[in-house]
Subunit: 401 residues, 2 copies
């Protein structure tokens, strides 16, 4: 990029060789937003995990004392999948960032082939990361009960930062429709015998009519997801076509099919993220214990994603009720296993206390003293009765209105 | 209630005849929160609908000018189901409020029979109303793009009010588990031949093995939903039992099954809300045009709820992929029809401009002048360059650090 000066010293703007090259910076910024989003989620899940290990409440077993709230399965279900999501989003962001560098290299030789793929991936991943990070942070904020609503927990502020990214640098619905446009274009390419890029190459596979596997391994689940997305793409393309046959212009048919098109795009990117997670863990070459932990987190992410999006798999006949029951059972057991490592994993995120800026989530776990000090510092607690009462309310309340 | 003085003039507390009577106020407050939630949603949807009718952007048909954004199907899908949700929550809140009055009357005669039913319904409806209102408001805020993030839109403030209610007066997960406890208790009652209260009487029906209808009318859809909830209750009860048979104590089995139990409770209350909507519209005796509109909104709510929760229906075999395709097609058409009445319906909510307090959603639709005035009033715009720049940043930026 350095070789192509766009604005000269005297302010003259020099157009790039192709208008499409202007996409480069836009793509780069969107990948950056993916990293921002997963870091927001990382901070929120650090705070919520530590709090859930410090906070004791109610009883699971009436013969025992109040457990850490992280012992409750419903709490584990709120917290642990968000830890796995941080990794899922990171591996996919890494993949798209690497594609960006490849495209930048190709551009030097005037090769624009991968640009549409990169554009679609960066649109979709930006939309998915910002959506999932925001909803994850809200789940985590709620997991801290009333304390999560406190400004001093910092969770409300993290939420506000994260949710804004759903709108800026490409509003998410607009981005999903960009992804859908790419999918429909590639799907049509198949019948014309065109070459497809890596993320959509499955649209050209001809084995979607059979379920390729009955096993529930990671690879089996990703296969089933792929098959379900293929069915959705196929069904949206058919709807567009039948509307056109009925006399609608393509643009109007597009608008009338757009709820389904957005769902296609979301499913396609979800499939991409699951596939990248499995692939990245597979080629990981660090220590064995870390690899094992990554495998558990990957499994958790798949189970969480698939049970939450069960509708699309069931509709495609890619998964049965009995299989879902099994997966749900496994999810419960995996949560209980990972619960033991939860605090260690978020400690390994290595978010500094100054960055977390939270009464609930500091490294030392000293929640209640921090809460007390924050309360003491609140302007509302500077006097027993606030000035506002003396100035405005007292006269009214003491009169006989 | 007036006849039972609880705290005397001298401060003495007089205990009620039964400890359970203390639930009364708690129930009343929870029903009140349901109304608060739907009113927050009502305000947000008024703002978003009016904005979507004023705002023009992009093109659906390249030969025509920029349409109102409410013409986009994806926009209709964000806005219109939230209008229907306001009505859905209101009809259910009315039903639970009436049950509350019945229970209060019964209590005078020492009849506590309906109290557990009322307790479960008020827990569940509070959890559902606060969850759905909050997520609906966030969808509506996002539907206004960058303008929705402005404080002057008032949508962020409405969201903050609404989301707090998910935590206070019974944290929602705790409330869902209360509902689940009631469901499991009632399900066990059936085998003992016990009498069930109205909201759970379906647990005693013996026709859940067959799909009673293949039609897709409102009644047909509610039947299918009922059948699906029954299957979930049955499956959760079976899990609890098999864990106990395997040697777990009931309390531990409960915790290990609680993700599924929460889903049972949510599905049960969703079924309740759908049923009440259909019933309330059925007995509505106002003018014919209003009744027709209510029928359309009821249908929209059912289609929206069922397609969003398709997984539970598919798993129970209560609905097929082909039927879901039909319902989705109908949903798209209904959105386009209801779009014509959208502004009129929110006008009929009659939320005063002073209550909406929004640059985007005032009655006169004068969005851009209001935005301009709000910008002019912002302290940030009092000078071309903010004081902070002169005081802190200029020296750094102009130096050669």
């Amino acid at each position: 990029m350095k070789t192509r000066i766009r604005v000269c010293q005297d302010g003259t703007y020099v157009k790039p060789a192709s208008n499409k090259l202007a996409y480069g910076t836009m793509v780069f910024v969107r990948v950056g937003i993916c990293y921002d989003s997963l870091r927001h989620l990382m901070r929120a899940v650090t705070i919520a995990t530590r709090y859930a290990a410090v906070r004791h409440q109610s009883k699971i077993d009436s013969r025992e004392s109040e457990p850490q709230i992280l012992e409750y399965q419903t709490q584990q279900y709120k917290v642990l999948p968000q830890i796995a999501t941080v990794f899922a989003l990171m591996f996919s962001a890494n993949t798209v960032r690497n594609t960006y560098y490849t495209v930048q290299d190709n551009l030097k030789d005037g090769n624009l082939n991968l640009l549409p793929e990169l554009h679609a991936l960066s649109c979709g991943l930006k939309a998915l990361c910002t959506t999932d990070a925001t909803s994850g942070i809200e789940i985590l904020r709620l997991s801290c009960g009333g304390h999560g609503y406190l400004a001093s927990s910092n969770l409300p502020r993290i939420f506000v930062w994260a949710t804004a990214a759903q709108t800026y640098e490409g509003e998410n619905t607009v981005l999903w429709l960009q992804v859908a446009r790419y999918l429909m274009k590639c799907y049509r390419e198949v019948s014309r015998g065109g070459q497809l890029q890596p993320s959509v190459v499955y649209l050209a596979e001809d084995n979607h009519t059979i379920i390729p596997t009955r096993d529930l391994t990671n690879e089996g689940l990703v296969q089933r997801l792929k098959r379900s997305v293929f069915r959705m793409v196929q069904s949206s393309a058919a709807e567009l076509e039948s509307r056109q046959i009925a006399g609608e212009r393509y643009e109007r048919a597009w608008n009338a099919s757009s709820i389904g098109l957005v769902k296609c795009a979301q499913a396609h990117i979800r499939y991409f993220v699951c596939k990248q997670f499995v692939k990245s863990v597979g080629i990981y070459e660090g220590s064995e214990p870390v690899k094992q932990l990554l495998e558990q987190l990957c499994r958790l992410y798949l189970l969480y994603t698939i049970t939450k999006n069960q509708g699309i798999l069931l509709r495609a006949g890619s998964l049965s009720n009995g299989e879902l029951n099994k997966l749900e059972g496994e999810l419960g057991e995996l949560l209980a296993e990972l619960r033991l490592d939860a605090v260690n994993i978020v400690d390994a995120f290595d978010c500094h206390d100054a960055v977390l800026n939270s009464t609930l989530g500091s490294w030392d776990g000293d929640v209640y003293n921090r809460l007390y000090r924050a309360a003491m510092e609140s302007p509302l607690n500077k006097s027993d009765v606030t000035d506002g009462y003396q100035k405005y309310m007292k006269a009214h309340l003491k009169s006989n209105l």
